[in-house]
Every structure is written in C-alpha cells, then in structure tokens.
Symmetry: D2
Subunit: 338 residues, 4 copies
Amino acid sequence: MINVGIVGITGYTGEELIAILIKHPHVKITGAFSRSVHLKPLSEVFPKFDGRVDLTCLKPDIKAITKNTDLVFLAVPHTTAMDLAPQLLKAGKRVIDLSADYRFKDAGSYEKFYKVKHKDKKNLANAVYGLPELYRNKIKDAFIVANPGCYPTCAILSLAPLAAIGGIDFDSIIIDAKSGVSGAGRKLEEGFLFSEANGNFKAYKVNNHQHMPEIEQVLSKLAGKKIKVTFVPHLLPVNRGILETIYVKKSPGQKSQDLVKLYKKFYKNEPFVRIREEGDFPQLKDVVNTNFCDICVKEEKDKLIIVSVIDNLVKGASGQAVQNMNIMYGFPEKTALV
Amino acid sequence: MINVGIVGITGYTGEELIAILIKHPHVKITGAFSRSVHLKPLSEVFPKFDGRVDLTCLKPDIKAITKNTDLVFLAVPHTTAMDLAPQLLKAGKRVIDLSADYRFKDAGSYEKFYKVKHKDKKNLANAVYGLPELYRNKIKDAFIVANPGCYPTCAILSLAPLAAIGGIDFDSIIIDAKSGVSGAGRKLEEGFLFSEANGNFKAYKVNNHQHMPEIEQVLSKLAGKKIKVTFVPHLLPVNRGILETIYVKKSPGQKSQDLVKLYKKFYKNEPFVRIREEGDFPQLKDVVNTNFCDICVKEEKDKLIIVSVIDNLVKGASGQAVQNMNIMYGFPEKTALV
Amino acid sequence: MINVGIVGITGYTGEELIAILIKHPHVKITGAFSRSVHLKPLSEVFPKFDGRVDLTCLKPDIKAITKNTDLVFLAVPHTTAMDLAPQLLKAGKRVIDLSADYRFKDAGSYEKFYKVKHKDKKNLANAVYGLPELYRNKIKDAFIVANPGCYPTCAILSLAPLAAIGGIDFDSIIIDAKSGVSGAGRKLEEGFLFSEANGNFKAYKVNNHQHMPEIEQVLSKLAGKKIKVTFVPHLLPVNRGILETIYVKKSPGQKSQDLVKLYKKFYKNEPFVRIREEGDFPQLKDVVNTNFCDICVKEEKDKLIIVSVIDNLVKGASGQAVQNMNIMYGFPEKTALV
Amino acid sequence: MINVGIVGITGYTGEELIAILIKHPHVKITGAFSRSVHLKPLSEVFPKFDGRVDLTCLKPDIKAITKNTDLVFLAVPHTTAMDLAPQLLKAGKRVIDLSADYRFKDAGSYEKFYKVKHKDKKNLANAVYGLPELYRNKIKDAFIVANPGCYPTCAILSLAPLAAIGGIDFDSIIIDAKSGVSGAGRKLEEGFLFSEANGNFKAYKVNNHQHMPEIEQVLSKLAGKKIKVTFVPHLLPVNRGILETIYVKKSPGQKSQDLVKLYKKFYKNEPFVRIREEGDFPQLKDVVNTNFCDICVKEEKDKLIIVSVIDNLVKGASGQAVQNMNIMYGFPEKTALV
C-alpha cells in the first residue's frame, strides 16, 4: 500500500488519475492539489466522484504535497513541473511527471519547442522516459519518470519494431495524427469551444508540433541514427482518442516480410499492446477508456501503412502513468487498468 | 438599397448577420465593427467569407458607425447596446438591437434579471418588440427595434394563440426548453468547451433564466392578465437550434377544440410560422439554417402538449433581425431569408 | 463463484454486460449467445475485448444455454425473452430478463403497449421487478427478475419518495425525458443514423411510449392509488445517458418541506442513489459509465421540479442487472459496479 | 428558364439538389422521383421544404421522367444510372449523373472497383467528366456529364497544378482523406449508426477505395504519364465535409518555388477555388454548406504538404452538379451557389 498525491487535480489528466486510482487496491490517494479549488471537497469539483472518494483539495504547497505521500503525480502544465520536481525529489519522494519537462535528454530540443529555459538539468539527466514497452527495467528503479506525450506514445509504439529492425527508409516516415479535443486540456481557447470544434476538423501546428522532437528522440535512439519525421496533427471532434495513420517507405530492394508476426514477437509479453491481423484496422472505440494501444500494419508495394489507436487520457497520459507506478512499486502491471 | 452597419461582428449573431445580408439584394454592408479585430479584413476573421464580401473591420467608434449607414444592427452584449443606441438614434440612424437592453417595457424586470441599472429609459419607451407575427405594424415605423430573445421567440410563438384566445389555465404553463450551444455566444467558459458539452446534457438556470420575464411580459399583454410561467432551459450538444416542449392545462370544463385549425388561422399569413398536423412533431433539423418556426400542438385529455422548434441564430436572432429590417424598409419580408 | 450465460450478445446491453462482468471476481461468463455470430470469437465481434475475455459465441440453443450456467441474462428483444425464460426456469436456472416481457403484473398493459400476446403468464406472476431500491428483499430469492426499463428506472427513483409520502397532486406529474441514442439499441433505422441524429433533437412517441405504463404501475402501487403521468421522451445526440426533468404540483395547502432531507432519508442506505443539494442539478456526465442515479429536487412555489440522471446502459440496463445478480447471490452489492 | 427532374430524391445528394435548386432563378423543378415515396408530397418526405416547394414525388418511370424536363439529375446508386441514362439521352434529355457510372473512360477500371459489368459503353465514350476547373469547355456542350466523386474533387483540385507543372515525384503521392458520414449516403449499415460513429474515428477501404482509380485517371491524363497514388480514407464524426492532407515528394534537385503564387495563377478565374496563404490551413467549417474548395500548400524541405477542404454534398456532389448545369445552360456559374 502506498500513499500518493496528485498535483493538478482540475485538469483532464488529474481527473483521470483519480478515476483510475480509486479502483487501485494498493494505493491510497492522500492528497489532491490545485490552486483554484483550495479547500473544496473533490466531490464538489467533480460530482461524479461523490461517494467514491473522500478528499479535500488543497493548494500545491510543497509542504502539503510532501506530507504523507510516497509518490507524487505531476499533472500540471510544463514549467510548473520543473519548479516542483526538484523539491519533491529532495524530500525523498518519487515523481511521475505527466508534463513535458523531463522528456528530453537534450534540453535544447525542449527549449526550442516549448520556448522556455529548462531550469532543472540536473534531474533531467536521471529522468526515465516512461514508456514501459521500451524502458520497463529503468522505470522500476526510477525516482523521476517522464510520462510520454500522447501522440508520441502512439507513434513510437507503432514504429519501434521498424526502428529496431530496419528495412525501411528512415527519412520517409509520415505521421498523420488525429486527436480528440481533451488532448488540449481544459484550456479556455476559442478553437476548443463546442460550437467551434463540433462539426469541424482541422490540421494544426503542421510539422511544427512539440511532440515531433519527442518522437524523433526515441526513434533515433532505437535506430541508432538520426531520424526526422513528418508530423501533421489534426483536431477530431470527439472527446477522447488518438488515431495515427503512418506511412513508411521500405528500403530499396527490401523484400516482403511477415510484419504482423514481427510486431507480435516484438510486443510478445506486453499487456497493453495488441497487434491486429493485416487489414483489420483498429478504430478509436476499440481502445477508448482503456490502456490499450492497438496496431495494424499493412504492406502496400513499396510502402507500409500503419494505423494505431490509443485513448489519449489513458495510455496517452494517466493510464500509462499508473502503469509506470505499478512497475515502480512491483504491483502487477495491469492493476486498476484495462 | 440601404447601407447597414453591424456592431459586434465577432460573435455568432454578428457572423450570422453577415452570412444573411451578403445574400440580400437591397442591402450594402458598409461597416463591420468590433474592438478585437480593428483593421483586420473580415475575410481573415472568418475565412469562409473570403471572396464573398470585401470589408475591413473597425473598432466601434460612434463616428465610424454613423458614417455612411442608414441602419445599424447591434450584435453586442447587453449594457453595450444601451451605451450605443442613444447616440445612434440621435444621429438619425435606425437601430435593431439584438441584445436584451430594449426588450422590457418595465426597466425593473430588466434590472432584476440582468443585474445592472438601465441607462436609457427614454428610448426604452419607444422601442418596439421585434416579433413580426405580433407587432408587424409597429415595427414598420420603429426607430429602435428590440429583437426578441431566442427562447422567447419560440415560446411566445407557441403560446400566443392560446394567450389570445384563452381556454387554458394561465398558471399552469411549463416550458421545458433545450438549446444548442451557440445560444451562449462565443463565451470562453469551461462549460462550453467541446470536451465538457459533448456527450453531456444539463438543465441550467432552472426557473431563473433572464428570458423568463421576457416571455411573461409578452404573454401577459396578449392575455390581458398577469401570466407566470415555469421555465427550465437545458444545454443541448448541438451547434444550433432550440426545441421547446410546452405543457399547458386546459381551463376546467374547456371542451376539445380543433387547435391545429385555430393555430393555422392565427398564423394564416405568416411567412415563417408553419403549423404541423396533430402528432407530426417537428425536429431541430426541420428548421436549422432557416428562419422558420415549426409548431405542433396536441391535446392529451386535460392538457395540451406543444412542441416547437427554431434555429436560435436565425429566427432566434439574426434572421429575425433581417425580417424586421425587411419590414422597416418595405422590402419583401422573405428577402434573403429561407 | 457462479457461471453465467448472456443471450443477445451483439446488442448494446449484451455488450455492456460483458464489459461489467469481466471485472467481477465471483462470476465466470461461460456462454455468450447470439444467432448472428455463431462460432465467432467474442474478440472478433468486439475487438475491444481482445485479450480480456476468451469466449466463442454460440447460437442460442436452449441446450447450449443451460449447459454449465447458474444464471442467464436475457439481453434480447421482447417476445424472445418469454420464449426462452420458461425453458430456462424449468431447467432450474435463475433468469434476469432485460426485456419488457416480465415487467407487467397485468398482461393487458403489456399487450396493449407492446402489441403482442403474452405467452408466459405463469412465470409473470412470480417475476420480481428488479429495482433494488424498492424490491431488494424480493429480488434476493427471485428465480426470475424483470430488469426495469431505462426511463422507468430514472423516473421511479425520482418520484418514489413523493409517491410513498404524498403531499402532491398525483394527476399533475409531467416527465420530460431525454435519452441518448444507445437507448434504441443497434437498430438499423434511418432516424438512428449518425447523419440524421447528429445535430438533431426531437420528441417521439409523445405521451405514448411503452415505458409510460411501467412507470405508472410502480408508482401506483407505491401510492396505493391509480397514477397517470404525462410522459414525453426525446432523442438526445449523445451515446449514453438519460436526463429527466419532472414537474409535480403540490397538494393544495401542502406546506413547504425539506425535500432534500426527505429524499436523503428515503435512500439512506442505497449505494447507487445520490441526492444533490437543492439547486445543484446533476448533469449526464456525472453518471455516464456508472451505476449511479443522481437526483435533485427543488421547490418552486406550488410546484416541485426534479432533475435526475442515469446512464441508460448501466443503471438503466446492464449495471442494474448486475446489481440484481449481486443481490440474488449475496455478493457485495457494489461488486464490479461504480 | 429550364425544367429539371431529379431522380433519387430521398438520398442526401437528391435532398441537397432540391435545397440548391429551389433558390435558382432560372430553374423549375418539374419532377422529383424515387421508388420509395411514390405519390408522397415532397414536403412530407422532407418537412424542411414545406412551404418552399410544391411537388409530389413519383416513382422513376422513364415516361414520367422525360415528360416536361430539359435536364435530368441522376442522384441514384451506381448501376441504376446506366440503366436510365441511355433512355434519357435517347429521348433528347441532357443528363448530369452523380453516380460513378460514367466517370471512367476505361470500363475496366470501373468494373474492377465497382464489381459490375458496364452496360452502356457507348455513352461512356461521350460522357464529360464534370470538374469545371479542368473541363469547363467540354461541359458546355455535353449531353451527359459524369459528376466527379467527392474525394476525387478535393484530391484532383489539390494536385492538378502539380500534375500539370511537374517538379514532383509522381510515385510519392499520399492522400490521407477524412470524410463526414453523409458521404456514405442514407445507407442502413451498423457502422453509420449514431452510437457507432459518434465518438469514433476509423480508416476504411485502406488503399482500396473505388475513388482511387478515379483520382489516378484524371491526374495521369494531366501529367501525361501513369500516376499511382496511396489513398487512405477515414470516417469523421461530422455530418458534412472532407479534409484531405496530401504529402508529395519533390523531384530530386527540384528548387523551392512560390507554390502559392503558382496555385493562385492556375485557379485565377475560378469562382469556387480559394488558395490560402502558406501556413494558413483551411478547416471544414470554412467551406461547409458552400461550393468552395479551399487549398493550402506548404513546402517542408523535400516534401510538399497540402491541406484542402470541401463540403462533400456541395462541391463534392450536388453543388458541383448545379455548377455544371449553369455551365451547360449558360447561366452565370455561381447562380444559386455560394
């Protein structure tokens, strides 16, 4: 049994963490923090939790956060995380950061895309990228886990087997990504209003999204060579879910392979990656409200077409954070997760 | 041919006014005003108008607004309208106000529900309530028209024949109203975010909405006695449209009547009210993007059940405003409207 | 540990039963039946269940259904249930029927609204109406439970305290109900197509819906007198959820009461009914994907306004069915339910 | 003034043709045909047209269709069109066919993808592909116009300038297309039910859609060489609209060009193609309910990224059909269209 605190309780990832953790038999939520709802009962902030959890929200003082917690989830905007994490680590707490602050080994990439100076390069070096399918062993002992971005989770899981094995033209990767609106958080921007997003669809941050260098960093490491991808995200009028359609050219002369078999072998023991048979492309509804990533890969002459789906708030954020926690504390990895 | 200006171009009703008026053969839009988009081409604010109208937005200075306009539409928040209207009227302009500022004969009701002091009681007295089906003759010569609220338009058209003719228990009226999200305007509030409103449905301002006294004022006048209604609005996850389900008790001993016939007679020459046969209840999609109000009335023992629909941005706002303009200037009433 | 079979696996309630029961520690699903998917793996019918449950669907032969099951859920259309139930009961199985076939004590009401002859009046007499909040004790020992309709669950829970205690005009009850599209099942009808229902809203079966007599039957029994309600259902463009806005007149001279207190007392020990404070009206999203029914009651002069919400597929169908099962087998009532 | 008949009135494209043509000053709709609504008033089939058009639907007898019509729109499923067209042409009528039957010069491609034998190869030879931006002159005098598919309209307009001018790797074209559900017609299939499509998103007919060879045929002709594209359509949870994200590799060594200028020049006099500035990517809502196609092209190192949008029922079907009619009869091309 461990005690956990959640900072940033009013956002979608904070709310989802609560929803998952109240079903976890080995976890007690001992603190729920957010400046805007200080001293409010959590059941008032989210009436759906009424009768299911008894907590009073507090503002995120470091003293309050560190009191009576073993592990802290940071479900806060980037830059806020690197303010809090050093203090938490110093106080001996373990940290799972759902923001982008600890995802980049190279602070330069972070600073370029997030347009702020990195303030905690020390801990950056020790942070483990929390994608269990690639880094489970490091996650076990990590003190600070950088929970991956939603788009990168889906993209990396889709491409990791190819990056590791090769046989593709590494300069040809195109990721056409579509995400539900909750990916933007509870941000009060006109484009996220119901009357704007409903009935609409658009590309945004075309080949210029902050998740692009995150994808490139991990794939490059796997491939042992610098990989650049083309990445175009779109805003889908659904609450939850990411679907990515990925196009890759095979290496010249590369023969046909049984890619389904290859992917199934790569993810053989993974509890949350499901490889579909060729042509049986997954849909959002196959994974919404679950921690699964479903992937289908299909060969089309000189190209591969991959379609993959996750729930951006579960495998793309809070579910994966709990999966990381389960690994860190030796709980069965699927506990409280579907 | 008249020149019109629109103040409040960035809101949904301002945008809809543009969409309707660019199809109007007797109107030239000579000014589009909004503080936030000063000097921006309208086609940049709304790319959908690119190539269809050539206008540069300006901030709403009284001098700019009065220059080169015969008629001004005020598509602004309440209180802003009563700041501008007196100056426009003084400058000899005719005004159609889409806000609530000139809807109440009794400033007290306004002040109670809108929680501000009324600043232009003088013009309040001369303002004509712009519901053509009831006040067409007064609208013709009006200098200032108070364009009705969206819920009241639908409710009053549904109940006016009964209020005028009687045979009902005037204390029994229950209006269960459902509106699309655009009714709230482009307001940046959490409840109007896509991720909040999509998949959701709720009642709000239960029996306490500012449109309730507006309904009561008009019905009371028609009936010649004070009418109080029960009014519960709900937020529908659609962009446009209002559906109201209305329950009324018949007077004790009141015999069965051919209500469809009665309603058809009452609205005999009305171009935008369509009375449906008994049991053929209208749906939102029958009127969305049109200026129609479709009404079905059904007798159920001692009760009447009325279902009526409008598009909140058309008959509930900008379409009705143009209908009023057509009446004021002697254009065929249906011009530019469906 | 019990073995259960589910007949009608391809409908929404069958699918939801699977989703709930695979989380139940004391249940083994031993059979999944549907004519249309005979011999197909369940994970092929619903890819979301891949890796979570290992079952092959079978066609619903009575022999297959009775083999190796203690309890059978009938998630089939009405009339099919009364074909199967007698054979199952004869074979010593317990039955929870999610159709309407065993809900009416009076076969005449059933026959009038469902327009078919009742074929199993014998078991009708022994069937228990499966609303735990009212009939928990009878459910415990029941061999056949008639799981309530979705609208009735919400309406009866909202009105039961008033029906039991009185102080209201029993002839005045108006239920304005709004339901998500899954309430219609996976029916291939034009009105349920995405392009028809999205952006639309409509009333249907106005005061003529088959759930109306079900509501009247239960309320009448509680009140000890014949109650007739006005019931107007509407089709909401959401997947899941019912919200009912209910209007009731107080008895003449009836004093003001602390209704919140009264409701809280009535449902004191109920795990799935949450009474909200006055004015804190519940929304669909407070209960979607849970087994809760949230109710708010507000006094408005001579009227009461009640707003209540459930998830039509959970508390309105499969969740309540599992709650009934938990009661029948002495499992903790909340097991596998939120 | 011409008399037109519409065959297939109950589908979305038939309905949309009515909506457009009732606003057309030079057109009289003299016949509305559909087997399923024989002798029904059109205002009963579509209550939204009540009071706007007075027509009684008839079943599509060739005699009824040819009586009193100059031009016939075929808004029918493929194969039905090639049954009717020869008889209509023989009777001296001009025909605009919205189905796929006359789009392919090579009957073999048609037969391969539509899996039926072509029955009217004679007229196939004379049919003009009705994309005004490319074939306006031929359309003028055509007796039978094959109205383009929705996906091809958007794809061809996006790529035509590049196909004509070159500088790209013609084997590299990837079209990632997303369409609203009305693209599927009023088809009663489970995947198009609201509860299935809402909240969902999926790829379908991956690189195997019948619109792919249509795109290839037109682009190949423009380029003067055989072009094969990769084409992956997706189903968007919106009623209307197509957005295509297109990826093209430049020819090796190809220098940077001012593509916006090039595209603007290519479509200089086109009333319904709007070229956006680089980086100003269009959204569905910029074109929904209009006949516009908005296109933005952006260079990214060795690649071009193009985003384009149309309304699938307007520029992608009925609006384009009316545009073709305007050209055929010498009406101003924008008449009745936005």
